[in-house]
C-alpha cells in the first residue's frame, strides 16, 4: 500500500469562463521510505500540488489518501518545508521548533520535549544559533530551522516545496547534501519539489516530471538507479545519470510536455430558423421560430 497517493486529482481556481485549470489527471503514489522528486517549470502548479498533498488545498475532483485512508485537512503527519521558510519572526530558533514539538507531543514531559528540540537543532547543525531570531540568520540557516521544525514533528512524510530556491549556489549544494544525509539517517519518506533536474537527480530515487500549465499533469516516472552516497563531481559521467536526465528533459521540453491547447468558441448562428416550406403555412401573426440552443465548436491546436 502506498504511503501517500493522489487519484484522478483535478484542481483549478475561479469558475465559469474565467476558470484557470492548474492541475489535471494527477496520479501519484509514494511508497514508504522513498525519496521522490517532482520537477517542473515555474508556474506550472508545483506549489499547488504540494499544498494539495499537505492538505492546505482541497482538490476539485479526485482524492488524497494517506496509508489508504482518505486524508483530512493539514496535519503534522505531513511535515512541510516551505520555499520562503515560514518561520515566525518573533520567536527564536528554539521557540519556533518548540512551538511545533509542544503541539505534536503534548503528552511528553517538558524536559523530554526540550531535549527533542535540542536534538533536531543539533541535527541541522544550528546549536550555536539556537537562541537567535530568524532575522539574524542567513537564508540557508533559516531553511535549516524550517527543516528541523518539520522533522521534529516526526512526520510520516516530509514535503519540501523548492526548499533551496531562494539560496545561493554554494549554500544550496551544502544544504542538499545535508538533507540527503538526514534522510539516509532516518529513512523517512520524502517528497521534493524543484525546478532543477540536476538537484532532483542528485537527491531522489525517482523523478516525476510535471508538464507546463495550464492543466499540468505528471509524466511517466523516471527512476534514478544511482548508488548512495552520491558524489556530485563524478555523478555526471555515469551512464544511468545521463539516461535519466535525458528522459526527464525530453518529457519536459518535448511535445508531450505542453498540455493540448483547445480553443472552444461559441458559434454565432442566425437567430431565426429557416422557414419550412413543406408544412402548412404559419399564421402571419404567429411568432417566428427561434433556435432553442446555441452551438459551440472546439478546435484542438497542435
Amino acid at each position: 500500500m502506498p504511503l501517500l497517493s493522489l487519484k484522478d486529482v483535478r484542481i483549478g481556481f475561479g469558475s465559469g469562463p474565467g476558470r484557470h485549470e492548474v492541475l489535471r489527471d494527477i496520479h501519484l503514489e509514494i511508497q514508504e521510505g522513498e525519496f521522490v522528486a517532482i520537477v517542473g517549470y515555474s508556474g506550472s502548479g508545483k506549489s499547488t500540488l504540494l499544498n494539495l498533498l499537505a492538505g492546505l488545498l482541497q482538490p476539485d475532483a479526485g482524492s488524497l489518501q494517506l496509508r489508504g485512508l482518505p486524508a483530512p485537512g493539514p496535519g503534522p503527519d505531513r511535515g512541510v518545508v516551505f520555499q520562503n521558510y515560514s518561520l515566525l519572526p518573533w520567536l527564536t530558533v528554539t521557540e519556533n521548533i518548540a512551538l511545533a514539538v509542544d503541539q505534536v507531543f503534548p503528552e511528553w514531559q517538558p524536559g523530554q520535549r526540550a531535549a527533542h528540540v535540542r536534538r533536531y537543532i543539533e541535527m541541522v547543525r544550528l546549536t550555536p544559533a539556537a537562541q537567535k531570531r530568524p532575522s539574524e540568520l542567513s537564508g540557508g540557516m533559516r531553511q535549516r530551522v524550517s527543516l528541523a521544525r518539520a522533522l521534529a514533528c516526526e512526520p510520516a512524510i516530509l514535503l519540501m516545496d523548492e526548499p533551496f530556491g531562494a539560496l545561493d549556489a554554494l549554500t544550496r549544494a551544502n544544504l542538499q547534501d545535508e538533507v540527503v544525509r538526514i534522510w539516509l539517517e532516518n529513512r523517512r519518506t520524502a517528497l521534493l519539489i524543484t525546478n532543477d533536474v540536476d538537484e532532483a537527480l542528485l537527491m531522489a530515487d525517482r523523478i516525476l516530471p510535471l508538464s507546463a500549465g495550464p492543466g499540468a499533469t505528471l509524466g511517466p516516472s523516471v527512476s534514478v538507479p544511482l548508488s548512495r552516497p552520491r558524489d556530485r563531481r563524478s555523478l555526471h559521467h555515469e551512464a544511468s545519470y545521463k539516461h535519466a536526465r535525458r528522459t526527464v528533459l525530453d518529457y519536459l521540453l518535448g511535445p508531450g510536455s505542453h498540455a493540448k491547447l483547445a480553443v472552444s468558441r461559441k458559434l454565432v448562428l442566425p437567430d431565426l430558423l429557416p422557414e419550412d416550406l413543406d408544412g402548412p403555412r404559419p399564421s402571419l401573426f404567429a411568432p417566428p421560430k427561434r433556435r432553442a440552443h446555441s452551438a459551440t465548436e472546439t478546435v484542438e491546436l497542435h
Binding site: A54, L56, G73, P74, G75, P76, R78, G79, V80, F82, N84, S86, L88, P89, W90, L99, A100, Q103, V104, R133, C153
Partner: protein, 297 residues
C-alpha cells in the same frame, strides 16, 4: 567622518537650526503682539490722569515677555494648589493625564478586540463597518453632551478611590474612549488582514487550536500594527481631553485655559497651549519608543 566634523554637524543640525526656528517664531509673536502704553492727559475736568492703552497689530495679544511674567508663578511652582482652578501647571497636567489614562485604557480594551473581529470575520466587518465609518468622524464636542446625558443619573463609586465619579468626569472619560478608539480598531483590523498566509499555513500544518493560533500567531503578527494604532489613539485622547475640560469646566489644563480666557488673562492661554503641546509631544515620543521596540522584532 572625523569626530570634529560630526560635532559640527550635531551643533548645526540639532542645536543651531532649531534655535533659529524658535527665534523666528518668537520674533513673529513679538511683532504681532501689542504693548501697553501709558500716557498722561488732561481730562475734561482739568485733572492730569494716566491713561493705559494697548497698541499694536493685535493689541490684546500679550508679548513673549509679558507672557512669561504672568505665567512665572505657574511654571516655577508647578505643583502648587492655591484653589481648585488655580494650581501649578504640572498639577493641572497631572489631573488631565489621569482622566486621559482612564479613557484611553477603555479605548484600548474595547478597540483591540473589535479590531480583531473586524479583521478576522468578513461578515462582522460587513455588519459593523458602516457604523464605524459614520461614528469615526464625529467630533468630541458632539460626544460630550451625549455623555453628560448618559451619565447624569449614574453614580460609580470605586472603593478606596475617594469621591465617586461625577457625571462630568464620566462624560469626559466616555468621550475620550469613544473618540480615541477608532485608530486602534482600524489599525488592528488592517494588521490582522495583513498577516502573511505563510504564518497561517504554519498554524494549519501544526493543527494549532483556535486559542493557540490567536495567542501564538495572530496577536504577535499584529502587534506592530496595533502599536501604531495605540500611538495614534493616544494623540487623539490628548486632543479630546482639552475639549472635554473646556466644556465641563473641570480642573485641568483645558479647564484652566477656558477659565483664564473668561477671566481675560490672555497670557495664561498661551501658557496652556505650550503645555498641551509639550505634553502631547512627550506622549508621542514615549509611544513611538514602545512601538519601535515591537517593530524591531
Amino acid at each position: 567622518m572625523k569626530p570634529l566634523q560630526r560635532l559640527q554637524r550635531f551643533f548645526l543640525e540639532s542645536l543651531f537650526l532649531p534655535a533659529v526656528g524658535l527665534l523666528l517664531c518668537l520674533l513673529l509673536w513679538q511683532v504681532l503682539s501689542g504693548k501697553t502704553v501709558k500716557t498722561t492727559v488732561r481730562d475734561d475736568f482739568g485733572d492730569l490722569v494716566t491713561v493705559t492703552k494697548r497698541v499694536g497689530l493685535s493689541k490684546d495679544l500679550p508679548s513673549p515677555a509679558e507672557t512669561w511674567a504672568a505665567s512665572k508663578t505657574y511654571v516655577l511652582q508647578p505643583w502648587a494648589k492655591r484653589g481648585e482652578l488655580d494650581q501649578g501647571i504640572l498639577a493641572f497636567t497631572w489631573l488631565s493625564l489621569k482622566l486621559v489614562a482612564q479613557g484611553y485604557a477603555i479605548a484600548l480594551i474595547l478597540g483591540t478586540p473589535i479590531g480583531f473581529c473586524l479583521g478576522l470575520s468578513k461578515s462582522f466587518a460587513k455588519t459593523f463597518d458602516p457604523i464605524i465609518q459614520i461614528l469615526r468622524p464625529v467630533s468630541p464636542l458632539a460626544w460630550l453632551p451625549l455623555g453628560m446625558v448618559l451619565f447624569l443619573s449614574v453614580k460609580i463609586h470605586v472603593p478606596g478611590a475617594g469621591a465617586p465619579y461625577t457625571a462630568s468626569e464620566l462624560a469626559a472619560i466616555f468621550t475620550i474612549a469613544v473618540c480615541s478608539m477608532w485608530p486602534t480598531v482600524l489599525n488592528t483590523a488592517v494588521g490582522v488582514r495583513a498577516i502573511p498566509q505563510d504564518y497561517l499555513n504554519v498554524a494549519k500544518v501544526l493543527k494549532l487550536s483556535r486559542t493557540k493560533t490567536l495567542l501564538k500567531v495572530l496577536v504577535p503578527a499584529t502587534l506592530p500594527y496595533m502599536f501604531t494604532g495605540f500611538r495614534l489613539s493616544l494623540g487623539i485622547a490628548w486632543l479630546v481631553i482639552v475639549a472635554a475640560e473646556m466644556l465641563t469646566g473641570r480642573p485641568g489644563v483645558g479647564g484652566f485655559l477656558w477659565q483664564q480666557y473668561n477671566a481675560l488673562n490672555y497670557a495664561h492661554i498661551i501658557l496652556c497651549i505650550l503645555t498641551i503641546g509639550f505634553v502631547g509631544y512627550a506622549l508621542d515620543r514615549l509611544m513611538s519608543l514602545v512601538e519601535s521596540r515591537f517593530k524591531s522584532v
